[in-house]
Amino acid sequence: MRILWIFLIIFFWSNIYIIKGEVRPKAKAVIQIWLGGGPSHLDTFDPKPNAPYDYTGPFKSIPTNVPGIEINELLVNLSKIADKYSIIRSMTHGINAHETASYLMQTGHSPEERLVYPSIGAVVSLFKGYDYGYKGIIPSYIVLTTPQGRFSESGFLGFKYKPFVTGGDPNKTPFAVEGIVLEGIDENRKKYRRNLLYSLDTFGEIIPFSKEFEWFDKCREKAYEIIEGEVSKVFDLSTEPEEIRDMYGRNKFGQSCLVARRLIEKGVVYVTINYSGWDTHSNHFQQMRQKLPELDKGLYALITDLSNRGILDSTIIWVSGEFGRTPKIQWEPPWNGGRGHYGKCFSVLVSGGGFKGGFVVGASDEKGEEVIDRPVYPKDLLGSIYYLLGIDYTKKFPEKFGVDAKILPEIENGPKKGILKEIINE
């Protein structure tokens, strides 16, 4: 009799599962490469070789290993692995101001709404982090190496859901992660200092029942656990083979990508690499000549390395700025060959975690000024990432935050609309 019951329960349970149309999440983690300032789409993933010189500028495009897809000539390494990522060429939101565009791209919500929403990193680390069974001692949401600055990543979720920001520079030895790796003090002195602190800091004993100080002591214990344990090792790149470090590029961005891989391997859920310097109003082309090879090398290494290690399938990489840049070049002084802000049409790259490789989504016109096919809005992109992670983006935030707010605004799904089904592996 009892067996029959169990059987029935399992039967119904599995039915519910099927009815709701849920799939097991494909992605476990996300690496967001944030090209702060807004990179030119024409000079990266949406070249327009047939447009006039005032649009293309000095750069040429090169073919990739996927027939029909061309990208900027400086992205040599990435051209060899176009089958491992897809390019969205019809990203659009129309906002040309950094802060509001950054907010929209990373929350999916219009800046006109009254609430300040959390960024996708905070949302993912809410639903995949400590509140829902994440046990790692490394924080679940990490930012390399500096914070956004333009808006509070945690929004109304509050202080607790802010990312851990490393500070420091992974291209230097040691990578001085603020509060984890301390330069210039040897182990002996560390031990002495710790003893000194414990013998001098007796203030808590005067009010022994203070809950505040009880909590303080717990925090200090945990802090020492982190300083002395596993966590500092994950940031120590000296254990990484030289050729791997070289492959990623010996610069801040490249080594940040390497740290991101190491964090994902340790189970961290969301890593954002804030890679700024793309706000190229003037001397645009000189700056691109310097930045694009860096981006090319680091991103190529990250995708290849994750793929070789078999974790690309469970890790989403998305690469985007807050907007693109004006397709028409401003040659006159003071710009001397510059590009302005452009939110109407730009490109985003996605890879791994259930996103198919080798595809182009949507298209822009022959000058890269207008979306002519399959517009993709920020909520569509973020919704697709949530979907792959198994986060139901149609539901509301938990009641404890005291707001009546949905994870994303309503998404209109349909053929060539909404969630990026065309590049999602089913």
């Binding site: 509060g179 007796t202 005067i206 925090c219």
Partner: protein, 519 residues
């Protein structure tokens, strides 16, 4: 069983107290401060509940506390020495008067106002840097002049003009929506301590009508905006005040004036109550009504007489906010020790001791910067050309919520998105402690501290004098015997130079609870 537990606890507690030889550094049995009206109310409440109030704080504890609570920084070394040596029985009262007149008083408290008025140039408030600066300066000036609070609020509510030239109009720009509902909700929150969303629908609608004739227009100057009253309407406004009184406003009269005049009346139950409760909470870490910005008929004050008394004092003194600070600071209730004599939850609830709280992010950073002789370089990316803040300016004076730094973010500076008091987070956490224990930035600051160099020059590398000066500067007290002993031992450690030992002592003090907390 419970009783036995409690008994064991008490014994344990007393043993610890007896063992803590430094207790006299922190408290004293006899009061030198006279009992005030506040104390009569609080102590009689405690007596009824059978709760013993704490002893008086020691002069060492008092001077540090009153400096932090008035001007947001601890006293200078000489100020501590002079105060401890002063034999005048009225010295606490005199010090309070002096501190309330310091310019840093206005600077420190402008920070709280900037939090609740949501001063920030970017998303979601979008005041824009020029307006932020004008608004922030206006607040500091108002506090410095001790502008009567009713006048202060009236200016905020009724001003019209340019955001650059008439700073208080920015009140109507520091809202994330510019419809009358959003404005009304913000007015209720700021000046009545009421959550708009919890009011009945018809009350909401009635209040928002007072703010339905505000308009905004751009000028030729970049990002300048005029806030003004639209007189073109033909229809009068018929609505009700939050207390239910009916009012009809002719179309040529700015309804904001009508609302402001209703709000700042002495008999208005919301107005004075909100501000005295907030000030109490700013000083004691929690209000007489909690949360301070969620006042409802079913959210009752902990000690109603206390709130009544403060309200009356505010009205009687013509809305003199400094006077409220003054009477609170002069009370025994405020000057009590942080060491409770009763550990029941009620003791905390009814203000039977001074509650310890972690220093605010900006205050903590101010001390660290001052001690290292090296400030933080803040740069704002908006607009181009960038704004640079002079590095040695106090962090509490950082008027723009959009200009921030890693330390401030880590230690819970509010983003100034909502104006809720709860946005500021003064709770310690693991990451903050990790920073204090192990940050290269902090280490470098201590290592290159000009302040320490100065101390060493004065003491000529005399160990005992050096220890004394460090304690006086960072903890506002002399070191105890046992502390000197521990530190002298540390100087003897092998492989640690004199300078390194000094660095480590400073590091240990900065990491100590006594330093990190108001107490």
């Amino acid at each position: 069983m419970e009783k036995v537990k409690k008994f064991v606890f008490i014994i344990f507690f007393q043993i610890i107290i007896v063992n803590a030889q430094n207790l006299s550094l922190y408290e004293k049995e006899n009061w030198s401060t006279p009992e005030t009206e506040i104390d009569k109310i609080v102590f009689s409440t405690l007596k009824k509940l059978n709760i013993k109030p704490a002893y008086s704080s020691s002069d060492e504890v008092f001077i540090r506390r009153i400096y932090l609570d008035t001007i947001g920084m601890p006293p200078e070394l000489e100020e501590v020495i002079n105060f401890l040596n002063d034999k005048n029985p009225d010295k606490r009262k005199l010090l309070i008067d002096k501190l309330l007149e310091r310019k840093e008083f206005a600077e420190y408290w402008s920070m709280k106002w900037a939090d609740i008025l949501r001063i920030k140039s970017e998303f979601p408030i979008n005041l824009w840097p020029n307006a932020v600066q004008a608004y922030h300066k206006w607040i500091i000036d108002s506090l410095r002049k001790n502008k009567p609070y009713d006048k202060f609020v009236r200016e905020l509510l009724t001003s019209s003009g340019s955001n650059f030239r008439v700073p208080p109009v920015n009140f109507y720009r520091a809202v994330s929506g510019r419809d009358s509902y959003s404005i009304a909700s913000y007015v209720c929150l700021t000046f009545m301590g009421v959550r708009f969303e919890k009011l009945p629908e018809d009350v909401k609608e009635n209040i928002s009508k007072f703010f339905s004739r505000i308009s905004y227009k751009k000028t030729n100057e970049w990002k300048e905006e005029i806030v003004y009253f639209v007189p073109e309407y033909k229809e009068p406004i018929e609505t009700f005040f939050p207390d239910g009184e009916k009012v009809k406003i002719p179309p040529d009269k700015d309804p904001r004036f009508v609302f402001a005049d209703w709000l700042i009346r002495p008999e208005n139950p919301y107005f004075s109550r909100n501000i005295v409760n907030r000030i109490w909470a700013w000083i004691f870490g929690k209000g007489i009504i909690n949360e301070v910005d969620d006042i409802r008929p079913d959210n009752l004050p902990i000690i109603p007489e206390l709130l009544d008394y403060l309200e009356k004092q505010l009205i009687k003194s013509n809305y003199d906010l400094k006077n409220i600070y003054r009477i609170i600071f002069n009370s025994r209730t405020y000057q009590m020790s942080f060491i409770p004599k009763d550990t029941s939850p009620d003791a905390e609830k009814y203000f039977a001791f001074y509650p310890v709280r972690r220093l605010e992010a900006e205050v903590l950073l101010d001390i660290i910067c001052k001690f290292s002789g090296n400030g933080i370089e803040y740069i704002s990316q908006i607009p181009e050309p960038y704004t640079f803040i002079p590095p040695l300016r106090r962090n509490v004076l950082l008027g723009d919520g959009s200009i921030t730094g890693d330390f401030l973010e880590l230690f819970g500076r509010p983003p100034r998105d909502t104006g809720y008091e709860s946005e500021r987070n003064n709770r310690i956490n693991e990451a903050q402690i990790r920073y204090l224990l192990n940050s290269s930035d902090l280490h470098k600051r201590i290592q290159s501290s000009l302040y320490i160099k100065e101390i060493l020059k004065e003491t000529r590398w005399d160990k005992k004098k050096t220890i004394e000066r460090i304690y006086l500067s960072l903890l506002s007290r002399y070191p105890a015997e046992n502390e000197i002993k521990i530190i002298e031992e540390y100087f003897k450690k092998e492989g640690i130079s004199f300078n390194q030992a000094v660095e480590d002592i400073v590091w240990a003090i900065i990491n100590s609870k006594e330093f990190l907390y108001r107490h």
